[in-house]
């Protein structure tokens, strides 16, 4: 159930400010695509435009096409709510719902949408999602306690469980490990490795090793200067980007010579 995303000549704006210009990428299903690049070059902006979370910000809009298995997300009459049900997102900062227990957090996609589900189906879904996020063993005895009582790494895995519980086709992750310790980071990287058998995964990261460890393809973004729009510089197999990129600035960036 994973789908291909095609980005065609996408310009992304915050009001009058053009944050990203002319991005075209083919994101493969059942693979991990990493976005790397210096801070402010528009990685999060591109990622958020893939499930129409970009337009949640006042005045923000995009110009261009994003195709999910050939269907344009930005076509006329497309309901962003439907898009987001198929393309899940994990944020940089863990954000479990503070009013809900661990169990309710995992079920949030069901409960908040007022969908009916039998108690036993719910239990199944909770266990399946938490196992999927490698969190089940740590929390199975305290599903009824508030989600905000977990450690940062556990909260992030709870957010992943919440995102996969609605069984999306695509999972977007914006620096999912930036607030985590090395052990939790490894746990999440393993998880990404497992999840890619079922989902299309796009991950933004500042960590070169992480990008080279988990991703199959890598997109390098860069920005010419402050106030200028960010651009896609190079998009290729991860191995190629890190060993033998075709653009000089990519090589400079991945070898740590700037940015």
């Amino acid at each position: 159930m994973s789908k291909r995303i095609e980005i065609n000549d996408l310009d992304i704006y915050y009001g009058a400010f053009k944050a990203v210009e002319g991005v075209s990428i083919d994101i493969e299903p059942r693979a991990v695509t990493a976005f790397i690049g210096p801070s402010g070059c528009g990685k999060s902006t591109v990622l958020r435009s893939l499930n129409r979370m970009h337009e949640v910000i006042a005045g923000a809009y995009v110009d261009g096409e994003v195709l999910l298995d050939g269907a344009n997300l930005y076509g006329p009459g497309v309901d962003p709510v439907n898009v987001r049900r198929q393309i899940g997102m994990v944020f940089q900062r863990p954000n479990p719902f503070p009013t809900m227990t661990i169990r309710e957090n995992v079920l949030a996609g069901v409960l908040l949408n007022n969908r009916r589900m039998s108690r036993s189906d719910q239990d199944d879904l909770v266990e399946r999602s938490l196992r999927g996020a490698n969190l089940w063993n740590e929390v199975k005895d305290r599903l009824g306690v508030p989600g905000s009582g977990l450690s940062g790494g556990q909260q992030q895995r709870l957010c992943i469980a919440r995102a996969i519980a609605v069984s999306p086709d695509v999972l977007l992750m914006d620096e999912p490990c930036s607030a985590l310790d090395p052990i939790s980071t490894l746990a999440i990287e393993d998880l990404i490795e497992e999840l890619k058998t079922e989902y299309t995964i796009v991950i933004v990261t500042h960590n070169m090793q992480q990008a080279s460890r988990v991703s199959d393809k890598t997109a390098f973004f860069n920005i010419a200067g402050t106030g200028k729009p960010g651009k896609l510089i190079e998009f290729d197999e991860t191995a190629k980007i890190f060993s033998n990129p075709s653009v000089q600035s990519t090589e400079d960036y991945v070898s740590g010579r700037f940015g």
């Binding site: 503070p98 949030a108 996609g109």
Partner: protein, 360 residues
């Protein structure tokens, strides 16, 4: 001086500076107050007036501030001295603010106790001249009028706040914010006159009804509810809205099931404060709800007594047995304060149950 401190210093670690013993500020305070008392006594003796507690407090307070700062400066150094000075000032300001509050409560309780009996809570004033009688009709009136005011203003206020925080962009939102601010400043008598004029349109001149009072009160309540709810909604982190939207939850469900529950404790507190603000209003109710000695359960028709109007009425037109009327006025005031207190406690309990659980 150094000889007394040095041994204890060498025994401790080098990071500790000289310290005043914990009892020192209290000692200084005691001495300051004694000196204040002596001065007050001297003044009283010299001028033949009464011994003044105000002078004791004032002189004692100033002396304490000066002495504790100087002593602390010498032994503990500048930062600690400033700390003690400011602590003294803050506590002094706190006590000063407490004096009118305590004095008010004590006065109302002492004077209100005279008629705080069973009859007071079970009787109306029907056919009562002189002693006896009760405020049941006024309690019922206050509860009904305030309840209806809340029924009108809580939804209006909360929905307005939701619009302003979650949807409002541009000119309309700015205009609403402006008019809410203007409404905050409406004098309560104007609200009463407005409600009267409005109801007179339908029911003719001389109309009196509890609902009219509720409308007048809701005019005063709505801006408070809007403002406090707005603040509470703004406090809900944007992360939570995005988390919910990203799960494919529509915006209105996100607001109903994520934003409002997260802010609920604060909203409840805000609504309670708004109720507490209007429950003691007298002027608008005097105009539109009027006064009566009879019980009236029907807010839609007829005069309705309320506690503040009752107290005002008893005080302004005492009969032959003045004291009986004054006693009833005080007791009514006491009942009003108690109702506000119960409301506040209720809000605390509700807020406690709905507050987001930290769970750590």
């Amino acid at each position: 001086m150094t000889t007394t401190i040095a041994p204890s210093r060498t025994a401790q670690n080098p990071l500790t500076a000289g310290q005043l013993p914990p009892w020192a500020p209290w000692g200084l305070l005691g001495v300051s107050l004694l000196i204040g008392a002596a001065i007050a006594g001297l003044i009283a003796g010299a001028s033949g007036s009464d011994f003044s507690v105000v002078i004791v407090g004032l002189v004692g307070f100033v002396l304490y501030l000066v002495s504790v700062t100087v002593v602390s400066q010498l032994i503990e150094g500048g930062r600690k001295a400033a700390d003690r000075l400011v602590t003294g000032l803050v506590v002094g300001a706190f006590l000063l603010a407490l004096i009118p509050l305590i004095s008010l409560i004590v006065t109302v309780v002492v004077n209100g106790a005279a008629r705080f009996d069973l009859q007071f809570f079970t009787w109306t004033m029907r056919n009562i001249v002189g002693e006896g009688g009760g405020v049941l009709h006024a309690i019922v009136g206050t509860v009904l009028v305030t309840l209806w005011a809340a029924i009108i203003s809580v939804p209006v206020g909360i929905f307005t706040a939701i619009y302003l925080v979650e949807y409002g962009r541009g000119a309309l939102a700015k205009a609403i914010t402006f008019f809410v601010d203007v409404m905050t400043g409406i004098p309560s008598i104007v609200a009463g006159l407005f409600a009267y004029a409005l109801f007179a349109l339908f029911a003719g001149e001389g109309v009196r009804s509890g609902l009219g009072g509720a409308v007048a009160l809701s005019l005063l309540m709505i801006p408070t509810v809007v403002r406090s709810t707005e603040e509470m909604l703004k406090l809900v982190p944007n992360d939570l809205r995005e988390a919910s939207l990203a799960l494919g939850v529509p915006k209105w469900l996100t607001i109903a099931k994520v934003v409002l529950p997260t802010a609920l404790a604060g909203i409840v507190t805000g609504v309670t404060l708004a109720i507490a603000r209007v429950i003691g209003e007298t002027a608008p109710l005097l105009i539109i709800a009027g006064f009566t000695t009879n019980m009236n359960y029907n807010v839609f028709d007829g005069r309705m007594m309320t506690l503040p109007v009752f107290a005002y009425n008893q005080y302004i037109s005492p009969g032959v047995q003045e004291q009986a009327y004054f006693d009833r006025a005080w007791s009514a005031a006491l009942v009003l304060i108690l109702i506000v207190m119960i409301l506040n406690i209720g809000a605390r309990v509700i807020a406690h149950f709905f507050a987001p659980k930290s769970g750590r």
